[in-house]
């Protein structure tokens, strides 16, 4: 017998993996659009720290002179991004999954401790149930960023018919800048996310596909907040026979 912990509900796994190709299409097509007018840069005085983006960058990726194509993809796949995002948010709050996700007051202190632990400056990481403080902040922020992308996106898509939204987002030009900055945020999140998933290892990764993780009470990178005796009584296998536990992607 093995003790398994049911980590990610089926719906969450679907939302997660649908979002990956859809958001990739949105970022790629967004870059094709951004190429046509790409004024953003980070400067210190007269010195340009980062330019979004130098010509060689577009050339290397073949992202030049494709505005019409970018707009067509962007305004088609935005609906999938919106729908998937709304279902995810709806599910998270209706199912109670938000209790694992929304950072509480101690999440911020915890996030610092987790960061110190990740950098090797602290021996132990604080106890957690599903996500540690840093993860809660990161994953909840990503949800807020998704909402921000949809709102700023609509503000630049229909600035006359939704003038109130455009005004709320700081005006047409500000909304476009925010929409772009959020995209950079998604890319940075993605890079850190991939690095952390690799660090956390196979057991953690596969749980986003299977939904469950084998419980290894003594695993150093998965501290148990409670003694085994305090754990809730194991639930019997959920599915009709065959020892099926959780319908994964079926």
């Amino acid at each position: 017998m093995k003790r398994i912990v049911h980590k990610h509900p089926l719906a969450i796994r679907w939302f997660h993996w649908i979002n990956f190709p859809v958001l990739s299409i949105m970022i790629w097509s967004g870059m094709l659009i951004y190429w046509a007018y790409d004024p953003y840069k980070i400067t210190i005085g007269d010195w340009t720290l980062v330019s979004f983006f130098p010509d060689w960058f577009y050339k290397a990726l073949g992202w030049s002179r494709r505005l019409a194509e970018g707009m067509a993809w962007h305004f088609a796949f935005m609906w999938l991004f919106l729908l998937n995002g709304l279902l995810y948010i709806g599910y998270t709050f209706v199912s109670g999954e938000w209790r694992h996700l929304v950072p509480d007051r101690k999440a911020f202190r915890e996030a610092i401790e987790v960061t110190l632990y990740d950098l090797g400056l602290r021996k132990t990481q604080p106890p957690f149930i599903k996500y540690n403080g840093a993860q809660k902040i990161a994953y909840f922020s990503i949800m807020l960023m998704g909402i921000g992308s949809a709102l700023t996106g609509y503000a630049i898509y229909k600035p006359t018919q939704f003038y109130w939204l455009t005004a709320l987002m700081g005006g047409y030009e500000m909304a476009r800048l925010l929409h772009f900055a959020l995209t950079i945020g998604f890319v940075l999140f993605f890079l850190i996310h991939i690095a952390q998933v690799i660090r956390a290892g196979w057991h953690n990764f596969q749980s986003m596909i299977t939904g469950f993780e084998e419980l290894k009470p003594n695993a150093p990178n998965r501290p148990n907040p409670t003694a085994a005796a305090d754990r809730p009584t194991p639930t019997p296998p959920l599915k009709n026979g065959g020892g099926a536990i959780d319908p994964a992607l079926s």
Binding site: M71, A76, K158, F212
Partner: protein
């Protein structure tokens, strides 16, 4: 129970005891489904990429753009006005971004040709257009490329023009939104050399801020900006703001559109 977590109300994750073989079976099944599902995005992508073009855009994407137009027209309202600014906010030198349709010299005998349903086309001069009430519009002109610029235009409302000459209706009466069946669905415009051409839906054409513009910053517009008269239609991207109007006509089918033929959305409504 950890007291700090109790405060938080974060529940523990459910656990179960399962036979080792069942865990393995479950895992294989999950990964099998995952692999199958992974094929879907690749399939969708290659289906779109291999679809034929419909007016320069992949057919499935063009269809969605047309659905988007239908969606946008459900909430479009002529009461939603584009934001306006004081005259000082306007740039001194409005940006010139394209020369299609104005590369040839302006014909010395330029007149505006207007096609009426079931009637001979008639010709108008600038004096005819100037005789209509003049409106000033200082607004943020938005290019499909992403830039925008506050510009100061002056001219006659297209809706006033259509009312005066009883245009845009099947019956030949003055167009009113109260009788939408009588209205043609589209207004078409083209440059005298037919090098640039646009089609605009009737609601957007009748928007009170849509102008037949002949002044920029209080001066007659120059050739590069589309002298003697051009379309300024703030509810659309710049691509619909045709310069140097040579002909205006009305149609229930979409008039051909220069940038749509090059893969852009037809509606491009803001």
């Amino acid at each position: 129970m950890n007291p700090t977590n109790q405060q938080n109300n974060e529940p523990h994750l459910p656990e179960s005891d399962v036979a080792e073989s069942a865990v393995r079976r479950r895992m294989i099944k999950s990964f099998g489904w995952f692999a199958l599902a992974s094929a879907v995005p690749f399939g969708v992508y290659s289906w779109i990429k291999s679809s034929p073009n419909l007016l320069g855009a992949r057919k499935p994407l063009r269809r969605v753009l047309d659905v988007n137009e239908t969606v946008a027209r459900t909430y479009f309202s002529n009461a939603n006005l584009v934001k306006t600014f004081p005259a000082e906010a306007a740039v001194k030198n409005a940006r010139v971004n394209g020369f299609d349709g104005i590369r040839t010299p302006l014909p010395t005998d330029w007149k505006l040709q207007v096609d009426r349903a079931g009637d001979e086309p008639f010709l108008l001069t600038m004096d005819d257009i100037r005789s209509l009430p003049k409106h000033e519009l200082i607004y943020d002109f938005k290019c499909v490329e992403g830039w925008s610029q506050i510009q100061h235009w002056g001219g006659a409302r297209l809706s006033d023009f259509m009312a005066k000459y009883k245009l845009g209706t099947h019956s030949g009466n003055v167009p009113t939104p109260d009788n939408p069946d009588d209205l043609f669905k589209h207004v078409g415009m083209e440059t005298p050399d037919k090098g640039y051409y646009v089609g605009v839906d009737m609601e957007s054409a009748l928007h009170p801020q849509t102008l037949l513009a002949y002044e920029l910053n209080g001066q007659p517009i120059n050739n590069q900006h589309g002298a003697p008269v051009r379309l300024i239609i703030p509810v659309k991207y710049g691509v619909k703001n045709l310069k140097r109007i040579g002909r205006i006509f009305f149609s229930d089918t979409r008039p051909r559109d220069f940038w749509t033929e090059r893969g852009y959305d037809y509606y491009v409504g803001l």
